[in-house]
Point group: C2
């Protein structure tokens, strides 16, 4: 099956989720195409999912559904932390995670370490939120290898969001114990880490192994879920771990109230509901 | 885009979820094909989703993910009811809903009213659970129009599960006020109804209108969600209403404990977690 098939003048982008199943989206036109040092970065205007970024032919995000992922990966830890001032984003060159972080007035400094400048360039040109986000004075962009950054930095962060690509190519090591140890060491005392893990429906063992790695490193760790129609199976798992804050700390409803008018997916019901795992997942990940 | 495309000897079944987005599954072979009085009923052996039933080219269920839908539509009401003895299934000719109902030892009689005998025939031949379910002495199959049945029956049921197809063709009237009124009148005093509604991501207005209809009829009604990778967007909404039992009645953990070893999706965490709605849904459906 071709990834981009011309059917009588129509262009369909198909992402195989397995060799035998996939999502297919009709594309109006290609907006961006650059083979960077690391990967092939492309942007498309789709008919029903807005602007879509793909890396090495895999859907990274679409305008239509990205809010679920970005709001969940940011607001779950950020509203549990009593007053987050500093945040680090690993990856996330599309700017969606930064956008959600700077909704929090307490955030004074949000550092993003993205390995591939092409991802930032494509996003600034085509995602409607990105240029404004990168121009925000609280945002600091570093084009570098985050593995090296978390190992070497002496800065400490209240929130670290690991907004990586899938564990292929440059992101493989972002799922390993050594990396998570360095992330833990970058956290302040009340600090929290969130990270993207994968689709339990298709990759349950990868999800389990990643969660186990996190639990070994932090001594705690939970899985939570977000509904992402553009991602394989439509359900994505995120990980949450902390240096010392209990993982059942409730979100700060006062701070949420001030921002909920701008949110599309996250709310206080989902904050706890997202940790309820289907039985096939719960069985596999309970230690 | 053809629904079944031959790409160099490979067969791909594609369900358009919108005119511009869809799920595509590789098919090994067709198992069943019958144009009934009502609709085109087909069964396929897929590579990654097991056996799949389609009606009028729409995915009804696949072996791989049907448990989420059937367990959630049955066990949420059945474990809230103190001791359900009688159940009515509207539609559900594939037998999955019946299979979950008869897991409850208290159920003495489960009546299914399915309009299309072809759905039952195809399922009994090809779904591994169906023949045994239909031979169970507590199961009573009626091939008839459920609209008429719920209007005319004098029987009363503890649980009514409306396991309909989408609101096209014969199922349109199963989403209307008159039908839900008759369902309410079929319930015993502690009776509960669950029903399938649709994909909030694609059809939010339909979901809202159906829930409003249910709330008008029952004076109560809540939405809950199940992750269904084979359905549009991967997230499906179900409705719950009762004659008098509060909709926040917790599930009976004693009865759940005796059956959870056989469940793949439902558990007590999800029982409440599934009612947590994404903000874009909650905003739309809160009255």
């Amino acid at each position: 099956m071709d990834l981009l098939t011309d059917l009588q003048g129509e262009f369909w982008f198909t992402e195989p989720h397995t060799p035998n199943a996939g999502l297919t989206l009709k594309v109006k036109k290609q907006l961006y195409h650059r083979q960077s040092e690391y990967q092939l970065v492309e942007m498309f205007q789709t008919y029903d999912f807005g602007i879509m970024m793909t890396i090495d032919k895999l859907v990274m995000l679409t305008e239509r559904d990205e809010a679920a992922y970005h709001e969940m990966i940011v607001h779950v830890p950020a509203l549990m932390h009593p007053a987050p001032k500093t945040a680090l984003v690993v990856g996330g060159g599309d700017g969606g995670t930064l956008r959600e972080l700077i909704r929090h007035p307490s955030i004074e400094r949000a550092v993003q370490v993205e390995i591939d400048e092409a991802v930032v360039e494509a996003s600034r040109r085509h995602f409607p939120w990105a240029e404004e986000v990168y121009q925000n004075s609280r945002v600091e962009l570093i084009i570098d290898d985050a593995l090296k950054y978390v190992k070497e930095t002496r800065d400490r962060f209240d929130i670290v969001v690991v907004d990586s690509t899938d564990p292929v190519g440059p992101a493989v090591k972002l799922f390993e114990e050594n990396f998570y140890s360095n992330v833990r060491d970058c956290l302040t005392e009340n600090g929290l880490m969130s990270c993207q893990i994968g689709a339990p429906f298709y990759h349950l063992e990868h999800v389990q192994e990643t969660l186990e790695t996190i639990r070994r490193v932090f001594g705690n760790g939970e899985l939570y879920l977000a509904h992402m129609p553009g991602y394989p199976s439509g359900l994505w798992s995120l990980g949450l771990a902390s240096k010392q804050l209990p993982l059942d700390t409730p979100p700060d409803l006062q701070r949420l109230k001030a921002m909920i008018g701008d949110l599309r997916y996250y709310n206080e019901d989902l904050h706890s509901g997202a940790f309820a795992l289907p039985q096939y997942v719960r069985k596999q990940v309970k230690l």
